[in-house]
Symmetry: C2
Subunit: 395 residues, 2 copies
């Protein structure tokens, strides 16, 4: 807290208005959830939010005190005090509007505004929370509301990397990245920024600076990079959170696939990669493969098997030992052949591809999880990401 | 929490609307204050309140969850949600108004309202707290706002006793007591109810039932007892929190005493018992004795000694080994001789009286603290308090 307060005061002395958005202290949210789960395995959601919001309230008060103790001026502001209006979806509320005026009037008094992240109020005045990692979203939303020059997100890493440095020693910190690339990387398992915070930053054009809490090095700037010359591949991501589901010998009729995925959607289960194999020669059946989050699998297994039975006894197979590796880059829009280069790099390592999905700026391949590190390193260096900006995309 | 929730649900099933006012969990407020004092010995007051208020917020959410877990309906309500308006005196704010409508609308839905005690908001929307023990005051204030039939205060004792049962085995639980007597007892060191909560109850005519959290026995009803036949002495209290200060050989001139106490009042030090000895025969000096809270003594010592010097070298003596024992009873208004009976009972035990102060319904004597237990027992049984209502006051 002292480091945070000192940094904020330094920033203020440099002539900036400073707003801090704070999360709960390490372990605090888990402590609170633990108290709730002693009462019930499924505690009432409205009360979960009233409970969890105290974590950030404690942090905000303590950080403001620390600024005072260092001779500065600060004021803690809670969700309802800043009027962070959200919908009423307790524990995973979405921000609708924020009043910038309260933060602005605090800044105008020369005070540092210390805003409790992660929390808001619904239209009835109930306390809501934005779900885990919601403090990033709060930060971007406040930055948008007061039209801040930059939203700095402090993390335990130096910035956004070309891939996970833990498994690829040649991973480099990215200096600048576009919102769209960051969004794809976040969706694909890069944990540095919450997807919703990136979406919000893109929508409002808030420049986001992802940097380390532990040093003053510049981190990664996430901005609208459309105008700049883009590297072809900006980063390599991987995601082990999904499991593969295969429906074997499904009748090859129109509407069959829609019936399965429609019922999954009703249960709020997101299906990611979907491949329908071509009908076997002369046959009337096909195989349907898709991936779902491992955490969703248990609650949709019965539904899938039920559907499979109704479809005429199709067998169902599950495989949790898979990983999705992806390459992301704005440059793919204008460079052909990136996907086939990816397949070639994987094949050169003897890695079998189980499924493929693509978007305008990314290609994802599903492979056996035992190849995770091998595949990430091969793609990272194969696309020249070890060599720095401008060197990428020489494939 | 389970016991609280079960009791509330039972009360609701009996046909009552139920509002719970909750305090922080045991140890929680101290934990939070400890965090603040790690930052600064004198943390900023506004932030202290934002911090401390989380204690009751956590309790309110957990109690509401517990009611839900038991199959009932409940809703936690925070100070700002109920609009408990206070002044801006952080850490010791006073309640100005409470909107009953939010609590009422919760009750009208068949829900138990679980209100976070101890907290409010000032006119600018800052979170305030009422000071230690403020939850009792919150309870009475909410009861007044919604015109509740009764405000039950749950404590770790069975009710209000004729004196402290820890030092007087014949102490009895009082069934009914007037606001005025309760107010005197609370001022004189009986810890069961906060003075401000009794004042507020008296002002709004809220009947207060002081009872045990651990059983269903009726406790003590605090009401407007004016119409009932009163016992002469309702209780015996003692207070060890004060120290005696003696100014010796002060010039016996008009305005001298006013000068001393005026400066103490400016420093917000309350002076309790004051005795000015008659001038010594033929002399021009006098002795002035008074008591102040031990906690105030350190911060007014320099001032007192300074004043004493300016008054011509009067000596100052301190004595912390004192106790104030008091008898309280509405009946004193109409019964003469109660004070002299008190002096007689103390003299019979060989206890020297160092100072005396009286009000319409109480007499206090300052004695050496070593006589505390002896004096309390002698007064308690001497005024017949060991024998039950109606037996008292036979002096």
């Amino acid at each position: 807290m002292r480091a945070v307060a000192e940094r904020a005061l330094r920033c203020q002395r440099d002539g900036n208005d400073v707003v801090l958005i704070v999360s709960a202290m390490s372990g605090e949210t888990n402590r609170l959830l633990g108290l709730a789960h002693q009462i019930s395995p499924t505690p009432e959601m409205r009360e979960m939010d009233a409970l969890a919001a105290t974590g950030e309230q404690v942090s905000a008060a303590l950080v403001a005190m620390t600024v005072h103790a260092l001779g500065g001026k600060a004021r803690s502001l809670l969700g309802h005090q800043v009027n962070v209006q959200t919908d009423a979806a307790f524990t995973k509320a979405r921000i609708q509007t924020i009043e910038g005026s309260k933060v602005r009037s605090t800044l105008d008094k020369g005070e540092i505004a210390v805003v409790a992240g992660f929390q808001g109020v619904d239209p009835e005045g109930n306390i809501t929370t934005l779900g885990r990692g919601g403090s990033d979203t709060s930060a971007v939303a406040v930055a948008a509301a007061i039209k801040a020059d930059v939203c700095e997100i402090y993390t335990d890493v130096d910035g956004v990397y070309t891939t996970d440095p833990n498994i690829c020693p040649s991973a480099r910190k990215i200096e600048r990245i576009s919102y769209e690339e960051m969004l794809e990387l976040a969706s694909l398992g890069a944990k540095v920024l919450q997807i919703r915070s990136v979406e919000l930053a893109m929508k409002h054009g808030v420049p986001v600076h992802v940097r380390s809490s532990f040093n003053d090095n510049p981190g990664t700037m996430v901005t609208n990079e459309e105008g700049l010359e883009s590297v072809v591949v900006a980063g390599v991501a991987y995601d082990k959170s999904e499991a593969k589901v295969q429906l074997i010998n499904v009748p090859d009729r129109p509407g069959i696939v829609a019936a399965i995925f429609g019922s999954l959607a009703e249960r709020n289960v997101s299906v990611d990669m979907i491949i329908q194999s071509p009908s076997r020669e002369g046959g009337t059946t096909t195989d349907v493969t898709f991936t779902v989050a491992k955490t969703d699998l248990t609650r949709c297994k019965d539904l899938i098997e039920d559907k499979a039975r109704n479809l005429g006894g199709a067998a169902v197979e599950y495989d949790p030992d898979i990983v999705k590796v992806s390459i992301v880059g704005l440059g793919m829009r204008s460079h052909a052949g990136i996907a086939s280069e990816m397949f070639r790099l994987l094949a050169a390592e003897g890695i079998n591809i189980q499924a493929i999905s693509t978007s305008e700026i990314k290609v994802s391949c599903l492979i056996h999880s035992k190849y995770t590190e091998l595949a990430v390193r091969a793609l990272h260096d194969g696309f020249g990401l070890d060599k720095g900006p401008g060197a990428g995309g020489q494939a």
